[in-house]
């Protein structure tokens, strides 16, 4: 089934609502050959609610004239596991493939219905530098579906999603899969530069003498490897160190950080036990068991948390292993479509993806303040205030970083002095904030977190009956991102 035909069909479907049903059904039948999938979409299609009629709540829709409505059809993720555990022997593309297959299973999406795949990753496995393509091929996507990999530190999959949004908004694609993968159980450890240079010269050395003299030039010191660090290249400061300084700058105490960390784990546990984390798919790990749960959620007591020594600034720092996100393996994927396409394919979308922004600031002293800068900007774009938001999902890199952002957002002085704004944006109310846990407890596979945040907002909006959600995250390089998400009428 060619794309253009689907598009034609879709247009027809829109103008003639009754006719659309049979048409779209036939499309699915042909495309998928999957009876249950057809049945499901047919069922859904029985209750069409044109979005123009949607007005159950007093709040307005954020649809803009002349701008395509873009929807999140669904999102999934592999369980997020502490690195070095069950996923230890995999490779990044294995995890990414699992997420992609999970998305296919969950949505019943015909593999060739996808126009494009964008995937995020931070620490690149050199063998699979375009991990998007390797994973897509392995997941059985058509080899005619192009795929590229993006990287933007902890907001890599946010970048993947907004790339998808851009492709659809520009009219170049109708259905894009976006996602992200991070695999910290194995990272590229390189030979030292001097050693690499010798080895490369060795390839070119023609005579035995030349080779021997090159080998003879190797010194013991050349053998010490280069380890990747979670440190800023520009400042050489590790992120935890920066987080500790940020917490100190905003006067965030150790107690506040431990309390927030405990809150994250407690809420995550509750959400896990209550079956809220429906984005998690089960994954049969080759040679191992089926994994179906995140394994980093560990509610402890305040006393236990208080015992830990600072991990970065010693001995007087406040950031510890327990109030920081841990090294995690995991992958996520979402299906993003134009609303027309989704409806035409018989989907019931979960949410609209609306305005988004990227921000950046000083990578030294404001490394992790992305949410503070991004939030007022994206709200302004959408014509909303903080009070309009029903669901907040912020990336929890460190408890201290979250608390510092909340304090910054609550400060007129900060807004005026550093952001050039007249007033503060305000801090989100905690009852709406990361209520199903966050990166601190669920885990933080760098490039997979963005999709988790967006999917969680969509699910929480559905569960809680809210209309607007806000995603915000910080990232290495002093960058940040925020996106407004609108519930799809139920």
């Amino acid at each position: 089934m060619s794309l253009s035909l689907i598009r034609t069909v879709l247009l027809t479907a829109f103008s003639f609502c009754s006719a659309a049903r049979s048409l779209s059904t036939s499309v699915h039948l042909q495309a998928q050959g999957n009876v249950s999938g057809v049945m499901l979409t047919c069922e859904k299609w029985k209750m069409p609610i044109p979005f123009s009629q949607y007005n159950s709540k007093s709040k307005k829709t954020l649809a803009k004239p002349g701008v395509k409505n873009i929807v999140l059809v669904d999102g999934v993720r592999t369980p997020f596991l502490q690195s070095g555990t069950t996923y230890a022997d995999l490779m990044p593309h294995d995890l990414a493939r699992a997420a992609l297959q999970g998305l296919l299973n969950r949505t019943g999406l015909p593999k060739d219905a996808v126009d494009y795949i964008v995937y995020g990753t931070v620490i690149q496995e050199v063998k699979t530098s375009n991990v998007a393509r390797e994973a897509a091929l392995g997941a059985g996507f058509s080899d005619k579906t192009p795929a590229h990999t993006v990287t933007m530190a902890c907001i890599s999959s946010n970048q993947a999603m907004t790339t998808a949004v851009g492709l659809i908004a520009a009219g170049q694609c109708d259905a894009v899969v976006a996602g992200g993968v991070e695999f910290m159980s194995d990272v590229p450890i390189r030979h030292s530069r001097k050693m690499r240079k010798t080895m490369l010269s060795l390839n070119k050395a023609k005579t035995l003498g030349a080779r021997l003299s090159l080998l003879g030039s190797i010194r013991l010191a050349h053998l010490s490897p280069e380890l990747p660090a979670v440190a800023e290249f520009s400042t050489a400061e590790t992120m935890g160190h920066s987080a500790d300084r940020l917490a100190a700058a905003f006067g965030v105490s150790r107690l506040e950080q431990d309390e927030f960390a405990l809150r994250s784990h407690t809420l995550a546990k509750k959400a896990q036990d209550g079956g809220m984390l429906s984005d998690v798919i089960s994954f049969k790990v080759p040679g191992r068991d089926i994994v179906s749960k995140d394994n980093g959620i560990r509610p402890a007591t305040m006393e236990q948390l208080a015992k830990l020594k600072p991990a970065f600034i010693k001995p007087h720092g406040t950031v510890t292993a327990a109030n920081s996100s841990f090294l995690t393996d995991g992958a996520s994927a979402v299906l993003i479509m134009s609303e027309e396409k989704a409806l035409a394919m018989g989907y019931k979308p979960k949410a609209y993806l609306r305005d988004f922004v990227y921000v950046s600031q000083d990578p030294k002293d404001q490394l992790l303040l992305g949410p503070t800068y991004a939030t007022p900007k994206v709200l302004e774009k959408s014509g909303l205030t903080l009070n309009d938001i029903d669901v907040f999902e912020f990336h929890e890199a460190f408890a201290g970083q979250i608390m510092a952002n909340l304090k910054a957002m609550e400060s007129d002085w900060f807004a005026q002095t550093y952001m050039g704004r007249k007033t503060k944006v305000g801090a989100p109310p905690m009852e709406k904030f990361n209520t199903w846990g966050g990166s601190l407890s669920l885990g933080h596979p760098f490039a997979a977190t963005g999709c988790r945040l967006v999917t969680t907002v969509a699910h929480r909006l559905q569960k809680e009956g809210g209309q607007y959600g806000l995603v915000a995250a910080c990232a290495a390089g002093g960058q940040g991102h925020a996106m407004v998400i609108e519930a799809y009428p139920q």
Binding site: A248, A249, I313, H316, D362, D365, A404, S411
Partner: protein
Amino acid sequence: GGGSLLCLSLSAARTHVSYEVKDNVAVVRINDPTSKVNTLSRHMQAEMVEVMNEIWGNAAVKSVVLISRKPGCFIAGADINMIQACKTAEEVTSLSQEGQKIFDQVEKSPIPIVAAINGSCLGGGLEFAIACQYRIATKSKKTILGTPEVMLGLLPGAGGTQRLPKMVGLPAAFDMMLTGKNIRPDKAKKMGLVHQLVDPLGPGLKSPEERTIEYLEEVAVDFAKGLAGKKVTVEKKKGLVQKIQDFVMGLPPVRKQIYKTVHSKVMKQSKGLYPAPLKIIECIQTGIEKGNAAGYLTESQNFGKLAMTSESRALIGLYHGQVTCKKNHFGKPERDVKKLAVLGAGLMGAGIAQVTIDKGVATILKDTTEEGLARGHQQVYKGLNDKTKKKSLTTFERDGIMSLLSGQLDYRDFENADMVIEAVFEDLSIKHKVVKEVEAVIPPHCIFATNTSALPIKDIAAASKRPEKVIGMHYFSPVDKMQLLEIITTNKTSKDTTASAVAVGLKQGKVIIVVGDGPGFYTTRCLAPMLAEAVRALQEGVGPKKLDSLTTGFGFPVGAATLADEVGIDVAAHVAEDLGKAFGTRFGGGNVEVLKMMVQKGFKGRKSGKGCYVYGAKSKEKKVNSGAEDILKSFKLTAPPAVSADEDIQYRLVSRFVNEAVLCLQEGILPDPVQGDIGAVFGLGFPPCLGGPFRFVDSHGADKLVQKMKRFEEAYGNQFTPCQLLLDHAKDSSKRFHK
């Protein structure tokens, strides 16, 4: 609780030192309201003693934190004026003993005292800190620790010579006290000078500076509590290296050898012209070999003696002069220079570009050839990259700085330049051509500065349509190392143009003198007669090595022959000829043809590999250039025996320099003796221990100098005729250049 109420009521009258008690920790805050920096003035000391006695008398207080409220300064040192006000060595000795007593009490404090250091912690400030039981310093770029007293011809006189060796070991203590160098926080921690480091903070709910001090205080209070509760121990576990070093240092013969080595090293470097380093060695040695009491006594007595030496006065004079010359006395310019253009990417041009971009000012570096530009660009890059190797700059900072440099061959973007500094070849017709070309492209407000070392600015300005915007900015090579900038104004230069040039120079980190226009201005004019005399001495058969040792023996950091090579024989020939034309036989002495012949043979100095010496070979011993020797032989003069003793040669060189300096003041080229001294020392290497030509006349005696000059005058003529102002000072000994 109750304690803090009590202290609030008592401290109401105090202005420099205050304290509050938090959780049984007394936080003592120092802040001199009358100055940008805290110094240990009498006032500060008196309040400190009062406060400490109150704290020690308060049983509720279990520990103390000592912190400054000034963002960039803990305590910058003792109050120099307090020392200068003393009339006798005994007075200064008793000052020292008072300081020793206070810090002794601090050291023996029954409760732990934590020094929380942010910003400069120097001299007396460091001595205070090391008397405390614990030290925490911020890693701020402004935080530096050191004992700079030696640079003022003094020594750490409040126990520093006694405590430092015990704290950091003998070699490190010698290094600190004999060089006076600043120690950065990381190094200080490694040396054991501080116990903990605190990171500076970025923006939060308060300004970074304010919050960093608060944070430092919070951390220090925690440690103070820990020390009081014995949860924190002061003693660090010693590593193996440390243990071995301690053992070795415990052996008297080893120590003796160290004293001997250090002594001979000091003698070699200072030529015995500086008494302070020798006294420092004596203090340290006495303390270690004869015990505390003897050590402290020697320290206070030597401190008193040093304060009365002419060397210390000279060095302190230079310190004050430097402070004066780091200010803009011409007001705030109407416009900030945001974009600078430098013409000519040679040694000078590239150097100027480097010191401009590294202060964040966008700079165009224009040359006429690609090769010239590439060489200049590489010079700037290397200058910055060397800083990354020394870790004073990160590679990222280097790249960011380099991005401000625009190397180009055309006049693109000159329409946005606020100032142009030309550093093209020293030839009036080329300079005129450049003035016209540049004025065709720059905006009306743009200043045209010329970096010439001898051509009168008014002659260059003659080609300008807007002479009020033309000014001389004479930099010294290498620009990134030499501190001096000589600014030359013509009678047409506007005040705003001068203000702007000074502002740019200050931004570039320069010490600035502003002088009047004339051939050679001030610095070149002083140097030229001395170099002419040096050439004469060479012609008379004094070899380059001998000449160098005579000049360095007088206190010049670089010998006269080496200096000529550094400046460039071609430049020296050029200057000698130009100034010879302008000033006539008075600037004679050596034959200019010697220099010209050397240039002809390619002996242009260091840059060409050969001058008076041969360069390039890696051997330590500098070799005299036999080619140059041959030339000198062909111009051989007979030395008049009456004025050719070693000391005579030294004074022939120096008196011509000094006489010309005084004449510059007499003629109004120099506005005052302070700038004269600063220019001579920072630009030409006039012996710092003499404090500059004017202070030298004061301390040596104008009459004695005139007597010597008359003797030389008899042998050589008008080159040694003292100027009127010098004669006036010789006649009336109450006349002094410095009060």
